[in-house]
């Protein structure tokens, strides 16, 4: 299927898919917490537009509800909540050092290739014109995972987790025109509850170990040896 054979809205969805992947890469490279949260909100916005366009071209209007949920939760509510947390924890100006950033970027690029090969047989099952984006959404999930692995600060790990969920949601929207409404509502509220719970956890982690560096949870004793 050549891109030239698609209609303009479908081309826009493919474009948005590529932009979502780019925002994942940007999040992976971002060292400042506030700009990372902004990038996360941007990814949510792109996801909202993709869902909106998919709802309009497929005629499945329940996707509009998902789009509205995405807009409310992932563009406004969760980023605002995270921003507030970061300000209250007084780490909004903090810079997190990434060990070997270029290696991680290359690893993320190879993850994209990997998900392309993994998604080849899955893609054959879907009949939608936008099925090529399954590989992209899988890559977004894997890059979110990579972010959780490669970062040490709890807040960035949470953002990575949320962007993993973005990838899953995007896969559901573009490959099958959305999950059943019950599932979707369930996941949306799970994420919402997770965001609130994480906020509580941040405070607990900090009061327990005096920092948000999750590497220090590996130590068994409080005294550095």
């Amino acid at each position: 299927m050549l891109i030239a054979t698609l209609s303009l809205p479908e081309q826009v969805v493919l474009m948005l898919a590529a932009l979502i992947l780019l925002s994942s890469f940007l999040m992976l490279a971002q060292v400042r917490l506030d700009s990372m949260i902004n990038t996360f909100a941007l990814q949510g916005l792109l996801l909202f537009f993709a869902t909106l366009i998919m709802a309009l071209i497929s005629g499945k209007y329940q996707l509009l509800i998902s789009a509205a949920l995405t807009l409310f939760l992932k563009v406004f509510f969760i980023p605002n909540k995270l921003r507030g947390l970061v300000v209250r924890l007084d780490i909004n100006r903090e810079i997190e050092s990434i060990t070997n950033p270029s290696l991680i970027m290359l690893f993320a690029a190879s993850l994209v290739l990997f998900s392309y090969y993994v998604a080849l047989p899955i893609r054959a099952l879907s009949l939608l014109a936008t099925r090529n984006t399954i590989a992209i959404s899988l890559a977004v999930v894997l890059i979110g995972m990579l972010m959780i692995i490669s970062r040490r600060k709890a807040v960035t790990q949470v953002v990575g987790f949320m962007s993993m969920e973005n990838g899953l949601f995007f896969a559901a929207v573009v490959a099958t025109c959305g999950m059943p409404m019950v599932v979707e509502l369930g996941i949306a509220f799970d994420v919402l509850v997770a965001a609130i719970l994480f906020g509580v956890f941040f405070f607990h982690i900090r009061t327990e170990i005096g920092s948000l560096d999750t590497d220090r949870l590996n130590h068994l004793t409080e005294v550095e040896k």
Partner: protein, 314 residues
């Protein structure tokens, strides 16, 4: 025959107007910063003045130092002759494809950095080492962006790529958008503009291009500076004609050529304004952050290539 004549005239035009392009960016930048600014044709005056001055050579300068300005200038002209400016019907385009074009640019850079090290001053060596560091990081990104465009058009010839892109209806290629972003970032780094290098400074520890040509004087310096302006124009032409191929003449008919000339001037004007705005809004980066910047360019080009393979082909 007609085509060859046209190609030669077109190349000469670009060579002649290159200082104006550089002067224009500078003038717009000055206006944006509320400064008086030299008029856009100031670079012509500078070149004329320099060509009248006596050449002063260091005692330690070898023949490399003396031939480098001529090599750099002529190689850049050859590179310019390959790029379609007004029309894609260019017989010179058969001389070289994008890979050779990048090769021409690296040949010029090779001689430039040799000349920087030749006299043996510490500034020259520093400038050369920085230039080589930055270009070794920028070149993969540049080639990757070109390859994505080439894969779209199934040809590595610049003319064919532009002709392919300007035909057909409007299709939103994600790969093109990413690779053109990568191309812009690389072009800014390669032509020594802010945020990688500051073209306005002449004596500063972090300068790159100026450090290499610090020992030059007279007509040698004029040629080196002209080559740098030519390189800026070359990259600008590549960017405007590859990203917005609208208006590039597909034939050699006078009407099409006129339209092509008008459109390319408008596009260059817009690009000059864009450059001036960017250079006003941005500060120069620390030198050690340049790898990050070029890493972003590489990731963008790589994403362009991958989105071409994943999203567009099948």
């Amino acid at each position: 025959m007609n085509g060859w004549l046209f190609a030669i005239v077109q190349t000469l035009c670009v060579v002649f107007f290159a200082p104006f392009m550089a002067g224009l960016v500078k003038w717009m930048k000055c206006k944006l910063q509320n400064r008086q600014g030299p008029p856009p044709w100031q670079p012509y005056r500078n070149l004329l003045k320099l060509s009248r001055k006596q050449v002063v050579l260091a005692d330690t300068a070898s023949f490399v130092f003396r031939i480098a300005p001529y090599v750099v200038f002529s190689v850049t002209i050859v590179a310019v002759s390959v790029v379609p400016v007004i029309s894609v019907q260019l017989p010179t385009a058969a001389l070289a494809d994008v890979i050779v074009l990048v090769g021409f640019l690296s040949l010029a850079r090779f001689f430039l950095s040799l000349a920087g090290m030749d006299v043996g001053t510490s500034f020259g060596g520093m400038g050369s080492s920085r230039e080589v560091t930055i270009s070794s990081l920028a070149e993969p990104a540049l080639l990757m962006a070109f390859f994505t465009l080439a894969m779209n058009a199934s040809s590595t010839n610049v003319s064919t790529v532009i002709a392919h892109l300007s035909q057909g209806s409007l299709i939103l290629y994600p790969s093109l958008i990413f690779s053109s972003l990568g191309l812009i970032l690389v072009a800014i780094a390669e032509t020594g503009r802010i945020p990688i290098d500051n073209p306005a400074t002449h004596l500063e520890l972090t300068m790159i291009h100026e450090a290499m040509i610090l020992e030059y004087s007279g007509r040698h310096l004029a040629l080196m500076e002209w080559a740098a302006m030519l390189k800026l124009t070359l990259y600008s032409l590549l960017i405007v004609n590859l990203i917005v191929p609208l208006g590039v003449a597909l034939t050699l008919r006078p009407g099409d050529l006129l339209l092509g000339a008008v459109s390319v001037s408008c596009k260059l004007l817009l690009l000059a304004l864009f450059l001036a705005v960017v250079e006003t809004a941005q500060a120069k980066m620390r030198l050690f952050r340049a790898p990050q910047y070029l890493g972003l360019a590489f990731i963008l080009s790589l994403l362009g290539m991958m989105s071409h393979i994943i999203l567009e082909v099948r």
